[in-house]
Symmetry: C2
């Protein structure tokens, strides 16, 4: 054992175990104490010209003094053989931790400081405790406009970027979600692309919902494209719909989301969304804010607050953004679940007529983009549908992404196990429970079982008779269908009001209590 300043040379031995992707080393207790290293501290491990950062585990007997054990991941990166000599050094305290403490103490952090933090996040230098504290501080103190902008820039910098040749105008679209069955993107992208405009769309998979746009599109064509493949598709067809996770444009975002989700906090949702738009070079962006009881955004006021933030931050980033408040109190179209939705979206492009709300929504949002650019309006979008240009375009995109160009709706396999749910009374559909419908589709197997989901036969305002079909549940497995049927009967996701006039009393309160929801939402 030789000591040279703060550097220690140790004999490396392989510990033939995987650490789940993390770089982990095990040191002897005495060696660690000598360098002032505690368990879970980070060390630099140097071999020849390679340096990695490892998390330290400490052992009294399992590893001898003068030796160091390295898990497979670290071992392989360094390309070690047993008994190679590595140099180790305690990693100094991260400067980004100082900036995190600054934010915790309620101070603003600068663009440079945010860059440093995001860099350390991406390099896995910050542990979960530190990230949880940071996310919590962001949530409590909020972000200034400058901080939001700095986050977008920092998050974009650490990821890959889509660089398209000779494209001055790049369109993009985002939805804040909260409405099940929203397959608008699958119509909007080919509409825009068919009009000669560029729209390199990345989408997410379902996180808590029954289907994300990436899940839907995957029933039509592969979506796990690399950034290079995505570029090729867009340069050939003007558009694409790929999974954002595979193109690696915002690695920081994925890491933040991993912390935010279990905490149910989302202080970074605006930078997170806009960093992905910035990464694909978007210049014009329409943001869909589905609004209404039973969605994420309940009131106009909330929509305005969210829209204002998006617009302010976008402006600073040089993105021309507009927000669309859309009716969000029921699913878009009639289907929920990857395959059912893909089928419905494809049918809409083929029939060019139905479902009307889906076509109306896609054309409205496309129209906003066209008006921003000064190249048309909703009518032009509608023409792209009616003329079949949009259908032709989606088929090109499907083919270029690696799917079957002439795919027909019937080619998309939907769950063979089916059960119908009927109305128990005559009346009018007054309310559709968005969250419960999504949950039901998930119980039936969506999004993992692609063919699982729900097909509605009625929407709000429709009159139904007793024993009319309200909706059909599709599943791939009988057991899941049974569970879903049971749940459906319990929650009654489609509220038929026999007659508002005969149901004036909604609840009697005799004791103190508590509950938060709108009348029809309960």
């Amino acid at each position: 054992m030789e000591i040279k300043g703060e550097i220690m040379k140790l004999v490396a031995k392989r510990l033939d175990m995987d650490a789940g992707g993390k770089l982990v080393a095990v040191m002897n207790k005495n060696d660690a104490e000598e360098l002032g290293i505690k368990p879970l501290n980070r060390i630099f491990v140097r071999f020849k010209k390679k340096i990695i950062t490892c998390i330290v585990n400490i052992s009294e007997n399992f590893v001898k003094e003068g030796e160091i054990l390295l898990y497979n991941e670290a071992w392989n990166i360094l390309g070690l053989k047993n008994f190679d000599i590595v140099e180790i050094e305690k990693r100094p305290e991260l400067i980004s931790k100082t900036f995190i403490r600054k934010k915790i103490n309620g101070k603003r952090i600068s663009e440079e400081e945010i860059k440093e933090i995001v860099k350390d996040v991406v390099n896995n230098n910050l542990n979960d405790l530190e990230l949880a504290a940071f996310i919590t501080a962001l949530q409590i103190h909020g972000l200034s406009l400058d901080e939001e902008v700095a986050f977008v820039k920092a998050m974009t910098e650490v990821g890959k970027r889509l660089e398209l040749k000779r494209k001055k105008i790049v369109c993009d679209k985002h939805s804040l979600g909260g409405v099940p069955g929203d397959k608008t993107t699958i119509l909007l992208v080919p509409i825009i692309a068919s009009l000669g405009l560029t729209i390199p769309k990345t989408s997410s998979r379902a996180i808590t919902s029954a289907a994300g746009t990436a899940d839907r599109m995957e029933c039509l064509a592969p979506v796990n494209l690399s950034l290079e493949e995505m570029k090729r598709v867009v340069e050939k067809t003007n558009g694409c719909i790929v999974w954002g996770g595979s193109v690696d444009i915002s690695p920081a975002d994925d890491l933040f989301i991993r912390i935010e989700q279990p905490l149910n906090l989302d202080p970074l949702y605006i930078p997170s969304i806009l960093s992905k738009k910035k990464a694909v070079g978007a210049t014009h962006l329409v943001i869909d804010l589905p609004t209404g009881r039973g969605t994420k955004i309940k009131t106009f006021g909330e929509a305005f607050d969210v829209a204002s933030e998006f617009i302010k931050v976008s402006k600073k980033l040089g993105i021309n953004a507009a927000c669309a408040v859309t009716f969000g109190e029921q699913p878009v179209g009639y289907t929920i679940g990857p395959a059912l939705e893909a089928r419905e979206a494809l049918e809409a492009l083929i029939t060019r007529k139905e479902p009307e709300d889906l076509i109306d929504k896609a054309c409205s949002l496309a129209g906003i983009l066209l008006e921003m650019i000064g190249k048309g309006n909703k009518n032009l979008a509608l023409k792209a549908i009616k003329s079949g240009k949009a259908e032709k375009k989606i088929r090109e995109i499907i083919e270029e992404q690696g799917g079957k160009r002439n795919i027909s709706p019937e080619d998309i396999k939907i769950g063979e196990k089916q059960v119908n749910i009927f109305s128990r009374k005559n009346g009018i559909v007054m309310w559709i429970k968005n969250n419960e419908l999504a949950e039901l589709a998930k119980i039936a197997g969506a999004p993992k079982d692609r063919g699982a989901g729900i097909k509605l036969h009625v929407k709000i305002g429709d009159r139904v008779k007793e024993n009319d079909k309200l909706f059909t549940i599709y599943a791939e497995k009988s057991i899941k269908l049974q569970e879903a049927e049971k749940y459906a009967k319990e929650i009654e996701p489609i509220v038929v009001v026999e007659d508002l006039k005969k149901n004036m009393l909604i609840k009697i309160i005799k004791e103190e209590g508590f509950e938060r929801s709108f009348i029809l939402e309960r």
Copy 2:
């Protein structure tokens, strides 16, 4: 001029002017200074055995030293002749002002302290500034349960009380309001009374609405009854519907409301309501909380909060209270405006069938009272309607209050000027704007013009065709009808959605902005 301790004798002269009910005296500046009296201070004025409290105005020349001018109201109470000698004395600082400051400083005030304040309010000893400060402090700091209870007791004590012989059970009903056209009380009172139970109902006139229950009932029978007359009616028929203002059961409440309304604050709404119930000796109380977008209470959570407060305070007062959450997103029945509503309520009792929602609501609330008492349920209430017992009972009550027993709906005069508003499209009625409808009825003349108002031809969920009648506006004066028609066309209080499926985009936001409302409420 003679000085005896702090008492000053002055020569009284009449100032032949009315002070709007206030007791006002004008003193010479020098006399006032001698006693340390400033403008708007209070003084005691004594003549023979009578003592009154007067507000002081001060003049340099208009009144001579050694004299005092008294406005008509004060002059008459004391029974003075010109040149009578009165004794005056500066009224000491009120102890209740100390208690008000205590509340302003965020401290709780005791039952005794609240009694003192309420007493001084009723005796007009506190001026508007003091009351405004007090109301504001109550709003900011809130009231503890004990304070709410103490207010009810104090407010009840300073008013008259209804003492009914041999009545162990006394029913009552209250609605928090917010829904136009709510004529439920006119059905509920005769239902309850016809079943042998006592319900001495006092109601309010319209404050900001198009009709209060007192205004509605007044189209059927006089409602300005004294407490003695009210007692006679109730002892004969088991029920009544009279104006709360005329029976003088909660004078403190009227004085608090006079301050609260212009400030748009209502910290005392629960004590205020319950003091009136306590004053009529209520033992069982049902409180209607109309809930929904477009009403006062928007969500279940709010309804629960309000209900909890009512139930807690009622319990402490020995009142058995239950709250009913009712559907409040559209008017009850089809009419708005005193005469139209009185007609509709009477028709409901005669036809025993329609409007269904009105009958359903009245029977539901009556059912809650019956179940609390253990004497039946909603079905029994419905039987009272169907059998005609309720109709018979309202006619008895009408007669005893001084109305025409055999009054028919056609006897109730409604506005002769009428205009129909038609639908501009085919579609479904998705939303009715409560506040705008009330405003419209007021523009047409309600509640002052009793025959003015609105009759709806459709309710939520109804399908309409283009040019179908949506509603009729009634007025007594052409000019008001014209204004109302103009307003109606501007605000479109009945929202017909041609097709939800064709109207997915509700608003585009391109700039930062602000607005608070639900999607359909805009």
